[in-house]
Subunit: 255 residues, 4 copies
């Protein structure tokens, strides 16, 4: 087998380097969030970029113990208290397009919309309107807009304010704001949710769309680990009994 090639970590002769930087130097002078940025982008963030990535990771860390990710972790631990890894992993497996995953789809939509604007020489506003009209025509959901609970998601507001104040906001933020207006005009007012604002900001900081999903996983592991820890300390094994109602075939005999 040929060796795997990697540009992430160099681990030789007792030294470990992340993207060229000695791990012990990073440990002495940098934050975990700096290193998350570094591992994914190959460069260290500016202070403004670090603050924004911190805010995004905090914003997705948890939003209730009953959400599918947290509840799956607790259920796994309830049956299998011997493996903390298994419980955290079970929670991550609940992350997908419908739960914590809209950021990736939104980043792809932003990248495509900006590309179209450049290619066709139209404004971001015109490209955003086109994106909304096409989605309406094909009856597709627009990732990053609308919310089950909030009419305005305060986390989204904070992120966008920080991005503007810190001069990180660029084409990505401009594009989602144009989309929000186009949606209100073409469909109905739908607030930009946290997936929409984090997608725009991550785009403007240079991340690939897949990071829109990965950032949710990284942030959510903070919450999942705390949920698992509380379940272990406060509760007994097998305490969770989900009520179930059977409505299938009546009792029957084998022939």
């Amino acid at each position: 087998m040929e060796p795997w090639r990697t540009a992430i970590v160099d681990s030789r002769n007792g030294e470990i380097r992340f993207r060229g930087y000695d791990v012990t130097a990073l440990m002495s002078g940098r934050s975990f969030t700096d290193v998350i940025f570094l591992l994914h982008q190959g460069r260290l963030p500016s202070s403004a970029e670090r603050r924004l990535l911190d805010a995004i990771l905090i914003g997705v860390a948890d939003h209730g113990s009953g959400a599918p990710s947290c509840a799956a972790s607790r259920l796994a631990l309830s049956g299998n208290r011997q493996s903390l890894s298994a419980a955290v992993a079970a929670g991550i497996l609940a992350v997908g397009d419908d739960h914590g995953g809209a950021g990736m789809g939104c980043m792809e939509m932003i990248a495509a919309g900006i590309d179209v604007a450049k290619r066709d020489g139209i404004s971001l506003e015109a490209s955003a309107t086109r994106t909304v009209q096409e989605a309406r025509a094909r009856k597709k959901r627009l990732p990053g807009f609308g919310h089950r609970v909030h009419s305005v998601d305060p986390r989204s507001t904070v992120l966008l304010e920080m991005a503007r104040a810190d001069h990180v906001a660029g084409d990505g933020v401009a594009f989602v704001e144009a989309m929000e207006k186009a949606i209100a005009r073409e469909i109905k007012p739908l607030p930009m949710n946290i997936d929409g604002s984090l997608a725009a900001i991550l785009h403007d900081m240079g991340f690939a769309p897949s990071f829109g999903r990965l950032v949710f996983i990284i942030g959510r592991v903070a919450g999942l680990s705390a949920e698992v820890s509380e379940e272990l300390t406060r509760e007994k094994a097998m305490r969770i009994k989900i009520p179930v109602e059977y409505d299938g075939e009546a009792a029957r005999r084998l022939t």
Copy 2:
């Protein structure tokens, strides 16, 4: 890297052999349960052994959609409907000592108890009594005995009857039956549950203790896959909302 060594599957030149047998020959003439037995033991089962392994796999396939394994699968799918693998895996991660895992501990206890009988030249009954007395002294649970719901687990009764009728029952079954009597005498009557009876029978068919856990996983995947399939067909994304009550720190301000 040196190649990994394996005695399970030989896959070369377009041929696949399981433990020496051509996979297409097994497909034409043998059952899936035969192959589970073969992959783990390196030999094909007798008809009686196949019937018993079938009965065990069926007995653990499911026992309610609200059990931690099934519920974790459904929760994972609720947030992440794009990955059936993730949903099934989440359910497996809930399998541990407290849920579906007592078979392994019971098989270790049976093997140890039979070894002690041979080593010290005492009867299986005497060894079973010693095992029970030691567990009582150390306040340890005896895996395979007692049940949250049933006073007698009908699945356990069926397995033991089949094992006796088929002449598969040996020292393992004799030992757990001696244990059941010793427990009633030394502690209080506790019915042998399905983990206890499947552990005894798997021991008598020559399986290693780890198979006591693996057999549960293999059987339960049948149930998990059906639960996942039903959730996908009958229910919508994010339909599961576990009710939560907050009882922590009151609202406070950052300083």
Copy 3:
């Protein structure tokens, strides 16, 4: 929270019923494969259907310890020997469109192709040709055809022979055979692989497309569990060291 509704398992008063049948009755008289069929379809299979499902499950159980699923299980165990559940789950997580997952896509393609034939009143051959031409035009892969290793997959041959001999083959088998001819004519000869033949047969037995992925997971757990068991018995913790070559940024200093 409202109780979850289910038609799969009824577990009340110490009785467990799968789709209406008492679990102990199934244990006494039916095979594990019968119960897999029952849980998914709500009816027990005919003998021919059982033989075919057995053959499919055996055919996908394993095809080499170095495949992503088996290797992921072994790697997980190498670092985490305390959790057999975690190791089996890690292997399942490697199952997707590219590994063991083409059956689902192929079942969707078969169902769509047969629908088109009915809707437009054309023959299955004509619908198969159209499917192939469209895929060629859009440069899309045709799931179920072509193989990395085999020019003809012997497992596929066996399955189709059994399906014909047992009179289970119907429109699904007819459609994939028409596709194989159309592919040879319109593109180049590509053998139908095991995903293609199992998809056709599962379609003809009445399974939903998602079962094309789930059947691989159910069958593969037999192999994964044996791989995990061998790794635990034969090998030491942390014995696996994948060789890696670093080709990223040269060593640099933090400023």
Copy 4:
């Protein structure tokens, strides 16, 4: 079903509070590492505590793409490129006693050793010596000491220097340093590894032993996500072929 109780997150009326603090306030003014600390301990860290937790998370984030956790993530993605959640989860499942998990065992050992010192009115040195002698007598490994590669782990040196400079070092650090001396005297010189030093520092910051495992998972997700991202961008599906050598039963016929 009774609602689940939790003291971690309060999510009501569109507001989300972590341990009483509004999530938007945390997003504006605190780091992700602060929030990890907060979620687990119920209080925000001092600057020194934050720096140490940052250093620990960075120190465990990655140490080579060929390690079981990273390699399991890459293998899972190789077969299943559609699910980033599944790939990250597969890597986490490789975390156990032998890979990334010694911190938890070491924290339990530290807590027990300090308890013994208090209970029996002996010095931490005497308690450390007793711990080492008992482990030697029972032939048990001492978690947190010794290393496959390094004679001295530079990450461990940095952590201990920071803990002392920041006045975070307390009984935990004193105990593991006493253990290092006792091991050199009673057995042979074995360097304290990163699991040993992070365990001591986490103990001194007030974390429960389970956090010794969870902190590795939280930090490692940063590395796993980057490995998964690189695999997705740089490599093709199914590119990983682990070489395997069959040494089992010779080819044989079914009878």
